[in-house]
Every structure is written in C-alpha cells, then in structure tokens.
C-alpha cells in the first residue's frame, strides 16, 4: 500500500488575529507551500480537507470552497470536515486515507477558526454547540463544566489533587514561552497558576485553554513523490480514529477517553510503534485534566498515574522519555478549534526536521504523535509521524 509523507506545513500565529477567514487560511497555505524544499504550488493539489466548526456561523455553508478559491486551489475537490475540536485531526486522517487508497497523490489538510471577533454572548453560545445539547447543555454544562466533572471524579478515584493540574499548566506555559506562534507566551509560576479565578470548580482560569483565531495547513504526498519535493519528508506512519458516546454521563468511565484509546491503538498498530518509542506528543490539553487523561489513554502513564506523571515533570521538554506539548499545547499555543489538529501536525513536522526555535527543540526527535479530541471525548484522531519511513 502507498505510504504517505508530509512535505510541507504552515500555520498562522494563534491568538487574536487581525485577519479574517480568507486572510488567515491564505497565510497558512502560503507558509505550508513555502516550507516545501522544492517547487510545489497550490495548483498541484488534487484534494483538500479543511476542518472547521465555522464558529460564529461565519460562512457556515461551503466554507471550504471559499477558502480554496482564495488560496490558489481553484477547482480542487474540497470539503469542510467537522468533528468539533477534532475537525482538522479528522481532515488530516481523511487526507491520509485518500492517498493511502490511491485516489490522489497530492492532498492538503488543514483547519481554521475565527473566534475572537464575536460578542461575549455569541461566543458562549458557540462554545457550547459541540456538547450534547439536549441533555448536557440543558443541565448547565459547557466544556469547562464537563471537564470539571471529570477532574473532580479523577481526584476522587486516584491519588491526585488540583496541584497536579497546576503542574500541567506551568509546564505548557513554559514550553510555549519561546514559541513564536503561541497565543499566550508567558511564563507562569506554580503560585500564579494555583491562584486563578474559578471557572468551573475545581478548574480555574489557568486550567483552561484560550479561545484563539488561527489557521493551519499541511501538504501530504504519496511516497513516490516525496523526494521530488524534499530530502527530509516526514512520514505519516500511522493514523487512527475513534468515537464514544457524546455525553459524559452515557460513558462507562468518567475518567478515561475511550475514543483516545481506540484511536491510539489503531495508530500504534499501523505505525508498528510502541508508546515508549514516542519522543514528543502534542496532546489535546483543552483543559489541564485532559492532558492527565491523555498521558494515560495514550500509554505514557499507567491507569491513575497521570497525575503523578505531571507532578514529577515527566512530560517536560527533554526531561522524561517523552516531551508532552513541546509547542505549549492548547493551553499556551492556543486552541482555534478547527485549526488545532493540523496545527499539532505543523509542530511535529518542524520538531522532527529540527526546524523550531533552538530553545524549544526536543533533543533527538525521531518519532512524534498528535492527539486531537472533539468535545469532551466523543471523537478523537491520533497520528504518528517519523523521520524514518
């Protein structure tokens, strides 16, 4: 079967972005194509998958066609992919499957979200559209509330406290401090992160990722074309996805994400890689408790050990076996919903090619993983990348 290589990747800075949808997407695509070592242009793209929730209702229909029209991909076969915050993780998977199946050789996957030019009221409405509207939302829950329920239960079931979440927040802010595309570039002390305003008890402001504007795009090609574009392709060694009940209360466990477990098992199996071979993982830390769960569900820590993993600093850059969220994660780099998944892939692409800021480089990075979750865990896409095919 065809192998898939990533030969280009680019993104906007995440944060309060001055550009609109067309401008941000064009910037991400421009950077992705300019990152390809040899000649490659948007007109060569055969298929495109663009993840977005269309936050705020902006160009809710035919989003993708508008974006490719404004980025030199006129006429390409394109569609919007929507799986909440995992939209572009699934766009990446769709692109990978398209090449794997032999339907196309050059495919773009990306994502975009414009979140920060809405009124506070409209923003709060849109932040709640991906949960279970009928049962969870009518019980007063948005995602801070849902993850707060998980956090409190996790503390009850295991030897863990809110301090463990503070360690996650401090680490990710430290990692993101030198990342020039990160939304929140500030070093945060333990004391500061431990004294944030309460958002959803027990989660405070420092447990929650920001709402960000941003766009990201990656260029995937079939193996026989990889070396036409670059001498250092990054191979998409494995892709897996899974789903779970939409509402937290319908799941057997409140402290595990089955979708992550299913997705990672598939990705590890296809890539023939074990968790202990991963050098860096970009995990979906929309809330700090989500990173704790991810370290367990992805196999970096045992069941109930995710809190201790964070407390012991095992995910810090170059300090443990695996660096967790070298980019700063959603917590610091930012979370423009639809753009997050392929934004994670951009980070891994650059890390594995040793092209990030020297202060942020994960030492001897050979194998990377991305973990992109939709909502409170209803959907998840996991990808494994390597310098070696």
């Amino acid at each position: 079967m065809v192998d898939v290589a990533m030969v280009g990747a680019g993104q906007t800075k995440f944060g309060n972005h001055p550009l609109g949808l067309k401008g941000m997407w064009s910037e991400a695509v421009e950077k992705a194509f300019s990152s390809v070592d040899n000649d490659c242009s948007p007109s060569m793209v055969e298929e495109a998958f663009i993840g977005s929730i269309a936050f705020g209702g902006s160009q809710l229909g035919n989003t993708a066609a508008l974006l490719t029209e404004h980025s030199g991909m006129d006429g390409v076969s394109v569609r919007r992919v929507e799986n909440a915050c995992a939209s572009s993780g699934f766009a990446l998977r769709d692109a990978w499957m398209t090449i794997k199946s032999g339907q196309a050789d050059i495919v773009v996957a990306g994502g975009i979200e414009k979140m920060n030019d809405l009124s506070a009221e409209r923003k709060r409405y849109w932040l709640g559209v991906s949960g279970d509207t009928e049962w969870e939302r009518l019980a007063g829950l948005t995602f801070p509330g849902t993850y707060a329920l998980t956090a409190r239960r996790y503390f009850h079931e295991f030897e863990s406290t809110h301090d463990d979440l503070v360690h996650v927040s401090v680490k990710n802010h430290m990692h993101g401090f030198d990342n020039e595309v990160a939304h929140l570039r500030k070093d945060v002390s333990f004391e500061k992160a431990n004294s944030g305003a309460m958002v959803a008890d027990p989660l405070t402001l420092y447990d929650c990722c920001p709402t960000s504007d941003g766009a990201s795009a990656v260029i995937l090609v079939a193996d026989h074309l990889a070396h036409q574009f670059t001498d250092t392709p990054i191979w998409v060694k494995g892709s897996g996805a899974g789903s779970d009940k939409l509402a937290l209360h319908d799941r057997p466990s409140l402290t595990q994400l089955r979708a992550t477990q299913l997705a990672s098992q598939k990705a590890y199996s296809i890539a023939n890689v074990q968790p202990n071979q991963i050098d860096l993982a970009e995990v979906h830390d929309c809330f700090t408790i989500a990173e704790v769960l991810a370290t367990e569900d992805l196999g970096f820590a045992g069941r109930g050990e995710g809190g201790r993993f964070a407390r012991d600093g095992l995910g810090r850059r170059n300090e443990g076996d695996v660096t967790i969220n070298a980019s700063g994660g959603l917590k610091s780099k930012g979370h423009p919903l639809g753009a997050t998944g392929t934004g994670q892939a951009v980070e891994v692409f650059k890390q594995l090619r040793h092209q990030v800021e020297s202060t942020r480089q994960v030492r001897d990075a050979e194998v990377g993983l991305t973990h992109n979750v939709g909502g409170s865990g209803a959907t998840c896409a996991v990808h494994i990348f390597g310098r070696e095919r």
Binding site: R124, Y125, G128, E134, R137, L138, L141, L149, R152, L254
Partner: protein
C-alpha cells in the same frame, strides 16, 4: 424545596417555601402544582383555568407535563379541578370550579426582595428575547418529555436505558418506555460554574445566583445523568451524596418556557 400546604373543606392549597408571594428562583405555579399533585392521591383532574393562569407558555402542553410527572390523568370531565390564584403563587386542587377565598400560606424561607425582582426581570427578558441559547427542536422537546420530566426509561435485554436510545447494538429498535427510574440518585461528581462559564441561555440569571451548579448522578438501576442543582444556596454537593428531583423552570426562549428536572441535595 418542600411546598407549604393547607387544607379546607373546599380545597387543598399549596405554595412554595417562600409563601404566597414568590415561587422561588426557578419556580412558578406549574412547578408548585406538580408537587401538590404528587403529594395527593391520584385521580382525574381538569386544568383549563389553571393553564390560563400561567405567566408564560410552556414549551410542551401542561396536560402532558402533568401526566408525565404524576399519576394523575387530565380530563375535561375530571373529578377535581386544578386552580391557581392570579394574585398570588397559591395553587389548589378542588372539587369546585372556583375558589372563593384563597388562604394566606406561611413562608418557611425568607424572600430576598432585591433578588426576587432581579430574577423576575431576568426571566422576562430571557423569554421575550430571541436568545443565543441552546436550540433543541420543539418535536424533540415533546418526544423526550416523559424521559426528561418523568424519568421514564427503556429496557433492553434486562438493561435499563436512560436517556432514551433508538437502536441497540444489534440494530433492533428499543421499545419507547417500559419503566420509571427512582426519583433519587447518588452524586458521582459535581461542579459549580461561575457566571461567566455558564451557557448563554443562563447568562442573565447565573450572575444573580452566583453561578450554576451541576451534578452527575447514578441511579440505583444503573443509568447516569446530569442535572442542574436547585435550592443549593445553603449547601454544597459532595460525591456519594443523595439527591432527589423536582420539575423546575430550565430556561426561556422564543416566548416559551422550558421545564426540566433539577436535583435537590438531601
């Protein structure tokens, strides 16, 4: 919140714990009436004048709400009449069509007049405005009402299913309703959202209540669910604590008021 009740020869009367002048932060004549009906021996009842007394139009018919949440049957020639004072928050079950003298019922909880006024204004603004709140279709509200308000559950191969599901893993349709969950459950986890973290449909009332509390509970027969907490001004939830449920106002949207079950700490 226990209702205040009194009886006379002509009727059984009830008000909220706040007495006749207020039904509480998320109460109204209908929520009081449902508690009164649940506390009396079921029979048949006429409700026409009661429906006319409601401040806002419920999103689902009142007779359906009553029959989903109590064992009473609504009938145009019912044995009893459900009645409400139009000048106070007192409701009654009576064999008479009209109550000549509505009683003064005592309050067991003090009323914060400032909060009462602010909440009444918030409800009015919320229901009159086209809010950016949750959209659940009217048909879905109707279809789910027995489950949402009455805890009606399904049974699939001896497993109790709630909230309702359509197909099982064998692709077979699960029968609509076969049993009712206990009106009590155990808290597995809980949270309290600050006013700024609450969903937009609660954005007017959450600041007045200091936030919104939600509990995730497990019923003894297995299903789990999430419910907003009501009347928790003086208490805080804890894991393994027991709760019971009452019908309360959830939110208003597009000139309709939506009702749901809320949990009360035991």
């Amino acid at each position: 919140m226990p209702i205040s009740k009194s009886s006379s020869e002509q009727a059984v009367f009830a008000s909220s714990a706040y007495g006749q002048q207020w039904a509480g932060p998320d109460g109204d004549r209908l929520t009081i009436a449902l508690q009164l009906l649940q506390s009396e021996m079921p029979s048949t009842i006429q409700i026409d004048s009661f429906v006319d007394s409601l401040e806002f139009t419920p999103s689902t018919p009142v007779d359906s709400i009553i029959e989903s949440t109590t064992d009473w049957t609504v009938s145009s020639d019912g044995e009893f009449h459900l009645l409400a004072s139009t000048t106070s928050f007192v409701v009654a079950i009576s064999k008479h069509e009209v109550i000549r003298q509505w009683p003064d019922l005592p309050s067991t909880k003090p009323v914060d007049e400032q909060q009462k006024t602010a909440l009444e204004e918030a409800w009015m603004n919320e229901i009159m405005g086209v809010s950016q709140g949750a959209y659940v279709s009217q048909s879905q509200h109707m279809l789910a009402m027995p489950s949402r308000l009455g805890l009606h559950a399904q049974e699939d191969a001896s497993k109790i299913v709630w909230p309702p599901r359509q197909l099982n893993e064998q692709g077979q349709r699960i029968a609509p309703v076969s049993s009712r969950l206990d009106n009590a459950a155990k808290i597995l986890t809980w949270t309290r959202l600050s006013a700024v973290g609450a969903p937009s449909e609660f954005s007017l009332r959450a600041p007045l209540l200091g936030g919104v509390s939600t509990v995730l509970v497990e019923f003894s027969s297995g299903p789990k669910g999430v419910f907003m907490l009501a009347d928790d001004e003086e208490g805080q939830a804890s894991i393994d604590q027991r709760v019971t449920f009452e019908v309360r106002r959830l939110y208003g949207q597009d000139n309709l008021i939506h009702y749901g079950l809320k949990a009360l700490l035991n």
